[in-house]
Symmetry: C2
Subunit: 483 residues, 2 copies
């Protein structure tokens, strides 16, 4: 019954508004005030899901979902989750379910090889991979490992932690500053280097050098750099090769956050975006983003697993066992923040096998082609501009001119462009036909079309452009400009 | 096909050895060295799961799984996970899927009321609940919130964080010390108060007072107490009422970790174990442990959600939206460590409705009765003793005497009892018929029988006792004693 419900959901998904149209608080008065005393039949529950829950869903699997980054599902991913829930094992240590640990190590080597990660990141090269829920956890784990290694070097003393500095750009995901705060880095020691349009919003190595030198001059201790391949605002790529060179010189741990774009590296033609990764200490991508593996599945590789273990291992008596004591096994609880962990590698293994590498590559390439087509449509309309060069499957664009009521054209100057585009986005999403989100980089408000939903086809992207044009046509740009 | 596989798995589960009997590294030579280029049929994958994965599974759903704490699955829980994966929405903020946020708030109030949590922990009383993956995350989130609130009070200065002290007992789960370490509490400032057999391994309030006073005298700042209801080693209960009184006097945040035993509080007759919780700041239980909701589902309630939000909120431009700006909605990303989050409340809602409160109570009570029956069997055998009074569905016992080869009895003195019981546990688990784990408290090595798997019936518990007796009969206690 539930399988049928899901099948019907996907059959009908195009009929739903992508962005839920409910108002805050809609659900509370639709549901009872408390849990039922007696059991209710599954039919009732499914009916309630249809009538009460579905209207409150923003449909991430809708082929016209172009917002944020994709979060792709697939039959293999969904069935993998089903199996994980069915077996429901807790693989915190090897003995607690050997297959959960061993399959994860194998699949992380498989995927690492597909990405052409340097050997030292793989188990076969004395590094290794681990699956977490989200990038936030990967950042937290690597930050703690780097922090503790550094504090051991400089002496833990009372003020040790207060001297540590971490680096990122103003395009880095907010999860990084949050993770830094959680591990006790002083807010004033999160060094946010501005990235500009001249470097396509990539982090400039010279700026990093300046920041690091200035910190060292003040007696501070550089700790960690979060470099991003495919930033959230514009899918920008920080240049790993020169950044890692700077970092090595100053003994800084480099983490490469390739949450969205990392998946593209399974295609040889995109692999160059992580050239230089051999100089980094850790690398992560979210297989749940653009790799058909349902939420959640963040893949983290590290060169030095012992750094994670030194910070994150626990060995209470009640978890002791012969296999762990003998030391020949992986106990993943010591690689991550949490103890309990789902059998997540099962779905990633199923996605890899069920699709095969060739189809996965075609899947990614098809999204890039769709984004290229959209970029072309935008470029052909004089009212619009591509704000930053398209990367991967994301197009960042904005309206720069609108039609006057009497037919000729009014150029939107930079002062009001942000307001015009904000209003344009509101009307696009208000249509319910597509869902996009926005970013601001270098002071420029832009619309983001992130292609990547599993069901998206060329016609959906063409339709998205049609919606954008129609809403632009209908906009009273003159009125806004006149304000 | 996958549903059939899972149904067959549960039909056959009693035929598997509970504890996987594979050797480290068994899987690597059974699987290909890399991911396949071409797609493989699901039939192949399922066949490989049967032949290669299942032998490496330690069956947490086996009715004779008495190890660690239970991690219960149920049809409603599994179907809930399936639906979550099918819809695959990312509910980090309200707008990203309103139903995911609103249902979570409603269900957390439902469950909070069932537990008879004081009103200030519920949304209806200006507190509120949030679902995370594991207790580790709940501890991390509350520790950071408490830390930042305290640092704001005492001034963040360079040495602020180095002065903070957190408290627990030597029975507290290792996740607490790990979380404290992650948030930057100095290792020397994790105050572990010894709990003894005289208080049934509950944390003694007088000992806490002594520790807190001593720290204050040295200029340190008491920050946080983790009190446990149902400790991992022996299911001990820390006395909340007097502990919270001490904590209030010294402005210490109290978190109540009721990961396993909290579920029992939906039965009025067990609710007294959290009497005094009104003096705490936060409370958590794992619905995936003893509440039929598959891994992972940690429910956390706090009295002051703004403390979480002050520490954990992020507001990058690319996530800004009208609903959040207007402030009338919950954005759960600001209540937790991670940004992305699964639609976990769906399965908890389905478990509550599909079972009904009455059946859930009966489910919990039946496990307690089975543990009582086991306790009685142990008590009737002169070779064994119950080490600590049984709590909930867990029995802690050990062998204190064994038969000589020539028929009469040899008392195992305390010096060798630990070794004897270690060997006894090894032989019990080696049988493959049951799986138990051990604990050491007050220097005593004991066996733990944690009843709680969904399929466990009285006959499985009787069988477990039979295995224990048989292995005890077969043991060469004299030989061990003679060593």
């Amino acid at each position: 019954m539930v399988i049928d419900f899901i099948a019907d959901y996907y059959n009908n998904i195009e009929h739903y508004p992508v962005l839920s149209q409910v108002k805050p608080g809609y659900l509370r008065h639709l549901l009872p005030r408390s849990a039922p005393l007696a059991a209710e039949p599954i039919e009732e529950i499914i009916k309630d899901i249809e009538t009460h829950i579905i209207p409150g869903i923003t449909h991430w699997q809708h082929p016209a979902h172009f917002a944020y980054f994709p979060c792709t599902a697939s039959t293999a991913g969904i069935l993998g989750e089903l199996l994980t829930a069915g077996l429901n094992v807790v693989g915190f240590s090897w003995v607690a379910s050997p297959a959960a640990t061993e399959l994860e190590a194998i699949v992380m080597d498989w995927l690492g090889e597909l990405l052409n990660l340097p050997k030292p990141f793989l188990f076969s090269g004395n590094g290794g991979g681990v699956i977490m829920g989200t990038t936030c956890e990967a950042l937290l784990a690597t930050l703690v490992a780097a922090r503790d290694r550094k504090l051991a070097e400089i002496g833990e003393g009372e003020i040790g932690i207060g001297k540590l500095v971490v680096y990122c750009s103003d395009q880095t995901h907010c999860a990084f500053a949050k993770a830094a705060k959680i591990v006790g880095i002083k807010q004033g020691n999160v060094r946010v280097v501005p990235a500009s349009k001249t470097t396509s919003f990539g982090l400039c190595p010279d700026e990093l050098v300046r920041a690091v030198r200035s910190d060292r001059d003040r007696g501070l201790v550089p700790l960690f750099l979060c470099a991003t391949v495919g930033t959230t605002p514009t899918a920008a790529v920080d240049p790993l090769l020169p950044l890692c060179r700077v970092a090595r010189e100053h003994d800084i741990w480099v983490h490469v956050d390739a949450a969205y774009a990392g998946a593209a590296c399974v295609c040889p033609e995109f692999r160059h975006v992580i050239d230089g990764v051999e100089g980094a200490d850790s690398f992560s991508l979210n297989a749940h983003k653009w790799f058909l593996t349902t939420l959640d599945c963040c893949c983290l590789w590290v060169k030095d697993p012992s750094a994670l273990r030194k910070s994150l291992s626990t060995n209470p008596e009640y978890l002791r066992n012969q296999a762990s004591d003998e030391g020949g096994v992986i106990d993943y609880k010591d690689w991550q923040v949490t103890l309990s962990r789902r059998f997540r590698c099962l779905k990633l293994w199923m996605v890899l096998r069920s699709n095969g590498v060739a189809n996965l590559r075609n899947f990614l390439r098809s999204h890039v082609r769709m984004a290229e087509a959209f970029e072309k449509l935008v470029a052909e309309d004089a009212r619009f501009e591509i704000v930053v060069p398209r990367r991967f499957s994301m197009v960042c664009f904005r309206m720069v001119a609108g039609a006057r009521r009497r037919g000729d054209c009014v150029v939107v100057d930079d002062g009001v462009a942000n307001l015009v585009n904000k209003k344009l986005l509101e009307s696009i999403n208000g249509s319910g036909r597509v869902f996009m989100t926005h970013a601001v980089a270098g002071g420029i408000y832009m619309l983001r079309l992130a292609v990547g939903a599993t069901l998206t086809e060329a016609r959906h992207v063409a339709e998205a452009w049609k919606v954008v044009r129609e809403q632009a046509d209908a906009m009273d740009v003159e009125g806004i400009v006149g304000c």
